[in-house]
């Protein structure tokens, strides 16, 4: 398979195939019947042009994934979209446009691309393997037509074979692959080539992409990811039931969840005070005490943003935080019916947080909903809100309800929402730490004891990660070789011209579009004698001859 990459007329007859790139035949199916068609289809699929089209399609197909909300990254906005515009939303959803990166048509594109890649790269690798082990291509008939050409006059006493030997030695020393055809009285040549790592790098790059895809697939099949909120003083054990949300890969088995547990002993946050960025977060850290397997002695550790905790091959990441006010509810008789720190979810950058308390163990049942404000303020425009994210002046702002919490209906209920359909409102009150509120109608008391902080963690394992990293490194290395190494060939021919004169020619060839072998040809010519004529036909721009 030879290919004419350099289509300039002066190099057209030189041994061309610097690359194992497939030749794009645009012919119709050759041969007859099914086999002919199959062969044609395969050749079309593995052609450069198809690869290019598929690359294009891949880029194009990714675009909606960034313009429309995606379930994978932002499920809430997808639901909002569906609620706002159900008709269009339903159509887009059918087309998989809210799950672009797991949609069948997206998979079809990259699978085709990778089949094309495999079908292209494997034969190329074999071919390259043979090329590397075979001799450099023989000299073209007419060296004068190559882009770099020098005529050299060796010193008078030097024999033709000596010139060839000198050239071969010079080239070997400069780490070229060399092949010599001895001087037979009429002519002799040295052929040399180097820069094979260009093609090797290219092949490594493409194979590494295949490996990368494999690693990503493997990781998403066998990995898992879960998130959990832990309050200061509370613990988390790595079992499926304890996660607030859990996303296992398709082939993940619960038995591969490593057993470990940790307690959040302390959470600290630090904020910018004053200036344009007042209130911006500066430092978070979660101090934890970890039991790596049942019965092991606890060790202490710190989880920070960008600095996960590694336990049993699983990583624990700090991804969010907030406040959990401690609330005590007593019934009319003074019995404690609820006492706990309740996770409130932040609603804005200053951690105005909302949450719900449910006290089912009393008749009628009691419910509270409202705000926790780390730095409390109330005004007519914003209502109750926080003015700074740190708990400088904490307060809660609660409304109390009595009646039926609806927990017995069997329908799953969110812990962050109060279903007030069967409840009546008792009143609203603002409380500072330590303050109590006697509910109207003799329903009991509510006490705001104080608060603890909570941190949310992602626990994740991706067994394909290391392989993906290795593949990525291989891809970059291959690319760098492929794009920066020059593949080039030089030839030396010694021939006896008319009248017994010995003619020595040195010529070189490379991918003329962006590189040159001129310097190497010059150096080799200088090693062989005095250059008497020199010609370069690489394109010259006015930038040089202005």
């Amino acid at each position: 398979m030879t290919e004419v990459r350099d289509s300039s007329p002066d190099t057209a007859d030189a041994p061309q195939s610097f690359s194992t790139a497939p030749v794009d035949g645009d012919g119709a199916p050759v041969g007859i019947g099914v086999v002919g068609w199959l062969r044609w289809a395969w050749r079309t699929l593995t052609s450069m042009r198809t690869a290019l089209v598929l690359l294009f399609l891949l880029a194009l197909a990714s675009v909606p994934g960034s313009l429309l909300p995606q379930r994978g990254t932002n499920p809430i906005r997808v639901n909002d979209y569906l609620a706002d515009d159900p008709v269009k939303g339903r159509i887009l959803d059918r087309l998989g446009l809210f799950d672009v990166f797991s949609a069948p048509w997206f998979a079809a594109i990259y699978l085709l691309l990778f089949i094309s890649l495999a079908g292209c790269v494997l034969p190329r690798s074999l071919q390259h393997w043979r090329t590397v082990r075979s001799r450099p291509p023989a000299a073209p008939r007419n060296l004068g037509r190559l882009p770099e050409h020098r005529r050299v006059e060796p010193a008078a006493e030097v024999q033709p074979q000596q010139t060839l030997d000198t050239a071969a030695a010079w080239l070997r020393k400069a780490r070229w692959r060399v092949d010599t055809t001895a001087y037979d009285g009429a002519a002799g040549t040295v052929a040399a080539e180097r820069g094979y790592s260009r093609e090797t790098g290219n092949l490594v790059f493409h194979v590494a992409l295949l490996c990368l895809l494999g690693a990503v697939a493997y990781g998403s099949l066998f990995g898992f990811k879960g998130t959990v909120i832990v309050r200061e003083g509370s613990s988390f054990a790595d079992t499926r039931g304890q996660f607030d949300s859990f996303n296992p890969g398709k082939a993940f088995q619960d038995s591969s969840l490593p057993p470990f547990a940790f307690t959040l002993t302390r959470f600290t946050a630090d904020y910018q005070r004053g200036g344009q960025q007042n209130g911006a977060a500066r430092e978070f850290s979660a101090d934890v005490s970890v039991v790596s397997e049942p019965g092991a002695t606890p060790t202490t550790g710190t989880v920070q943003v960008n600095d996960p905790l590694v336990v049993n091959g699983v990583k624990v990441f700090l991804v969010g935080h907030g406040y959990a006010p401690t609330i005590t509810v007593k019934d009319a008789k003074g019995q404690v019916v609820f006492h706990d720190s309740v996770v409130f979810l932040p609603q804005d950058g200053n951690f105005t947080s909302t949450g719900v308390v449910k006290a089912p163990d009393t008749v009628p049942q009691l419910g509270l909903q409202g705000f926790f404000l780390p730095t409390a303020a109330v005004d007519t425009v914003h209502g109750p809100h926080s003015t700074f994210p740190a708990a400088d002046d904490p307060g809660v702002f609660l409304s109390a309800w009595s009646g039926d919490l609806g927990l017995d209906t069997g329908r799953p209920q969110s812990v962050y929402a109060l279903d007030t359909t069967h409840m009546t409102k008792l009143g609203i009150e603002a409380l500072r730490p330590g303050q109590s509120w006697t509910l109207p109608g003799g329903h009991g008391t509510v006490t705001f004891d104080g608060y603890v902080q909570w941190a949310s963690f992602t626990v994740a394992s991706d067994p394909g990660k290391d392989l993906a990293l290795i593949a990525a490194i291989a891809a970059i290395t291959g690319l760098a070789l492929s794009l920066l190494v020059r593949r080039r060939r030089v030839w030396v021919r010694v021939s006896s011209g008319s009248g017994g004169v010995t003619v020595v020619e040195v010529a070189g060839l490379t991918r003329s579009e962006h590189t040159s072998v001129a310097e190497e040809v010059d150096a080799l010519a200088a090693a062989l004698g005095t250059t008497t004529s020199s010609r370069t036909t690489a394109p010259k721009g006015p930038e040089e001859n202005r």
Binding site: S8, F56, K225, D307, F317, T537, P539, K540, R546
Partner: protein, 316 residues
């Protein structure tokens, strides 16, 4: 860690100084470009390649003439002196800007790209520095005006509507992988910007040469005649892109490592990641197109520009 306001203020003064220098450079480059003697618009393909009349030797001789043309004589080619002024003021501006970026970084004790203002400032520096370094190896006066103008625009944006006072970072951004990622991306951005500029100029030169091959003229002939041959521009654009593509790949991988460290996933298809991927695929398509029969030249150039569009889109 507090912010050193004094250093931040000096940094701002230096940026204004750099902008002044770049303004002079821009004008000088423009004057130089306008005064330059145009060349004949003969398409590269129609030059009989390697006619034995030693085109190499011709090139050597003229080259000697230009380098010998020293500072003292009045026989400088038209526009050369203005071009020299442009080049030296560009160097001056770049040095000032470099110190400004350094002071900004020192004032906050971290890498100077914590917000769009700093990011633009540092990107502008990267573009200007890339240009200056490239100009060490070849005469790039003809390209000056096309590089200094965007640099000036970016700096203007950084100091006006993007302006942000020096401050510390939110925790998610404190990661050395992020520093590596952003610096690699910024270098790529700078080179892609220059690459796109050269590509546009290639398209102009190419269009003009094509018309001339059939004896017609082109509205942008005045521009094309002052540019190097299209084949030259094409090769230059390719070299820039080929050099940067591995680095861009590395930048994306570094970003993925950072994301893995921060959120437990190395790739999540968020919009930034998605556009980085699209840009990457588009540049890969460009490099592919260069090796695909029937896609070299103009079509490949169009892909390179689309890829640059994707890159820019990701940062605005």
């Amino acid at each position: 860690m507090t912010v050193n306001e004094t250093l931040a203020t000096y940094s701002n003064y230096l940026v204004y100084g750099a902008m002044a220098a770049y303004t002079i450079a821009m004008i000088a480059f423009a004057v130089s470009f306008a005064a330059m003697r145009g060349r004949d618009l003969v398409p590269a393909a129609s030059v009989p390649a390697g006619t034995e009349a030693d085109s190499g030797a011709v090139a050597v001789v003229t080259k000697v003439a230009t380098t010998v043309g020293g500072p003292d004589d009045g026989a400088l080619p038209p526009g050369r002196r203005a071009g020299n002024i442009g080049m030296s003021t560009t160097w001056l501006g770049t040095i000032l800007l470099g110190v400004a970026v350094l002071l900004r970084g020192l004032s906050v004790g971290r890498a100077p790209w914590g917000n769009m203002c700093e990011f633009s400032m540092t990107s502008a520096f990267a573009i200007a520095l890339t240009f200056c370094l490239m100009s060490l190896r070849r005469d790039l006066r003809w390209l000056g005006v096309f590089v200094v103008t965007p640099v000036l625009l970016i700096l203007g944006a950084a100091m006006t509507f993007l302006y942000t006072e020096a401050a510390q970072l939110v925790p998610a951004l404190k990661s050395y992988w992020l520093v590596i990622h952003v610096s690699a991306a910024m270098i790529c951005g700078a080179a892609f910007c220059i690459g796109a500029t050269v590509t546009v100029l290639f398209l102009v030169a190419d269009a003009s040469e094509r018309r001339h091959a059939t004896g017609r003229s082109y509205p942008l002939d005045w521009l094309a005649s002052r540019l190097p041959q299209s084949a030259r521009l094409d090769a230059m654009a390719y070299r820039i892109h080929a050099f940067m593509f591995p680095l861009w790949t590395f930048a994306i991988v570094a970003g993925a490592i950072w994301a893995e460290n921060a959120w437990g996933r190395y790739w999540g298809w968020d919009p930034k990641e998605t556009w980085a991927f699209i840009t990457w695929v588009a540049y890969a398509a460009y490099l592919h197109a260069r090796a695909t029969v029937g896609w070299k030249g103009r079509k490949a150039a169009a892909i390179a520009l689309i890829a640059f569009g994707c890159f820019v889109f990701n940062y605005v």
